[in-house]
């Protein structure tokens, strides 16, 4: 395909196909107000509990479309806030999460799930990690700035925290989404003579060469970057993309990319 017109035609045909396919999607019936108030954690518990009951074959005996919802009793049901009227009680599950902030904000992280809890982190580090992720998902720059160390570095060109909202608003980098997604990659730490231990996300950052990064850690990077982006940084020789650093005392020191 040599001409732009052909390219545009190809894109438009592909888009038309998707739009046509989506016309077959029937919006599931809206469920009751009582159900919409279910917090996510409760929904996950209800889903798990419902699966057990379904497995045991007892759910049909204790639940019907008319008496569902927490207001009907102490037994949680397995329906999501919006449930299909044509299929029996589908449940939308979510990745493991601690607290999912109420999503009413606008940024690249709005609506993202909280990163899973990670084992082995000191409590101050785990607390800071969780607080940063929650604030990012809530698009809460004020809280994020308060969490950042006074020496926080966001750019080797001298930029501090102020760079993050600028990148977001200018569309340069989806900084808040990157924060949340990087926290869902494996971490590593390094000890220094004159500094507190530092914890890093992703773990790939601590390896001196690209070849040393374990396959599992490399796989985790694909949750954040495209293969092409990783190929480009591989040519550099070591991981030089975005990383987050938190000290063992829970101080958020940097969110930076480059060398």
């Amino acid at each position: 395909m040599k001409h732009l017109d052909e390219f545009e035609q190809r894109m438009e045909q592909a888009a038309q196909e998707v739009r046509q396919a989506a016309k077959h999607a029937v919006p599931p019936q809206l469920d009751s107000d009582a159900r919409r108030a279910l917090p996510r954690g409760w929904l996950i518990f209800a889903a798990a509990f419902g699966v057990v009951l379904l497995t045991l074959g007892v759910l049909p005996m204790i639940s019907s479309p008319e008496d569902s919802g927490p207001a009907s009793g102490s037994t949680p049901t397995t329906t999501p806030a919006i449930a299909s009227s044509t299929v029996p009680e589908p449940v939308i599950t979510a990745p493991p999460a601690t607290t999912v902030p109420s999503v009413v904000a606008d940024c690249s992280a709005a609506g993202l799930p909280m990163p899973s809890e990670q084992e082995g982190l000191p409590t101050p580090v785990a607390d800071t990690r969780r607080a940063i992720a929650a604030a990012a998902i809530a698009c809460d720059y004020g809280t994020l700035e308060a969490l950042a160390s006074p020496e926080f570095v966001a750019s080797f060109g001298g930029g501090g925290f102020e760079m993050i909202p600028i990148w977001e608003e200018e569309g340069t980098y989806p900084a808040l989404a990157l924060l949340v997604e990087l926290f869902d990659t494996p971490y590593a730490f390094e000890d220094y003579e004159d500094l507190p231990r530092h914890y890093y996300w992703p773990s790939a950052f601590v390896y001196d060469s690209w070849e040393e990064i374990p396959p599992a850690d490399m796989e985790a990077l694909l949750r954040v970057y495209t293969q092409e982006e990783l190929d480009q940084t591989a040519a550099f020789g070591s991981y030089a993309l975005w990383r987050i650093g938190i000290t063992e005392t829970g101080e958020w020191r940097f969110f930076v990319a480059g060398d």
Partner: protein, 173 residues
């Protein structure tokens, strides 16, 4: 993003908003995710988020832009999590992966697979432009970036995709 409050009497009921916008959201999700079932589930999740916050979201000038924002953020994040997409959004109760949407042709599938390989901002802008047919300004509102940034993302995306399209031509002929 628009945030102008409107009078309470003018607020659209969630249900009519939901029914009107559902198909468009599924289409956006379908282009950004690999399977139709994931697309429908993701669209539902995004509407659930809007439903929970409707008191506030309905006050925006364009609640649809907000839902699109949540949806594209989740979609590109989910897509990156190879394999996690189905785990995260699988329907339980014997309906895992049920797909009510027609399959796309191989030619269309190839296009959207390439789009999903783009950096996330480029992929989002491309889908909002071609699938949802939004203007540059509207895409900027959804993505929370300037019109200039949208143009830059679309320009890069087109350059990359048109190169790939040449390759496809060679591969398929």
């Amino acid at each position: 993003m628009p945030s102008t409050e409107i009078g309470a009497l003018d607020v659209e009921p969630f249900e009519s908003f939901y029914r009107r916008e559902y198909g468009r959201m599924v289409a956006i999700a379908r282009a950004l995710l690999r399977t139709g079932s994931s697309a429908e589930d993701l669209a539902q999740e995004s509407f659930i988020a809007a439903h929970r916050n409707w008191d506030r979201v309905s006050g925006y000038d364009d609640p649809g832009a907000w839902v699109r924002r949540v949806l594209i953020n989740r979609a590109t994040s989910l897509h990156r999590k190879a394999g996690a997409e189905l785990r995260a959004l699988t329907r339980l109760g014997g309906h895992a992966g049920e797909n009510t949407l027609p399959e796309l042709t191989p030619r269309a599938t190839e296009v959207w697979e390439e789009v999903r390989k783009l950096p996330r901002r480029q992929a989002q802008a491309t889908v909002l432009h071609y699938i949802d047919q939004l203007s540059i300004e509207e895409i900027g509102e959804v993505m929370g970036v300037s019109p200039g940034a949208v143009k830059a993302h679309l320009h890069k995306a087109r350059a990359h995709l048109s190169q790939r399209l040449e390759t496809w031509g060679e591969e398929t002929t």
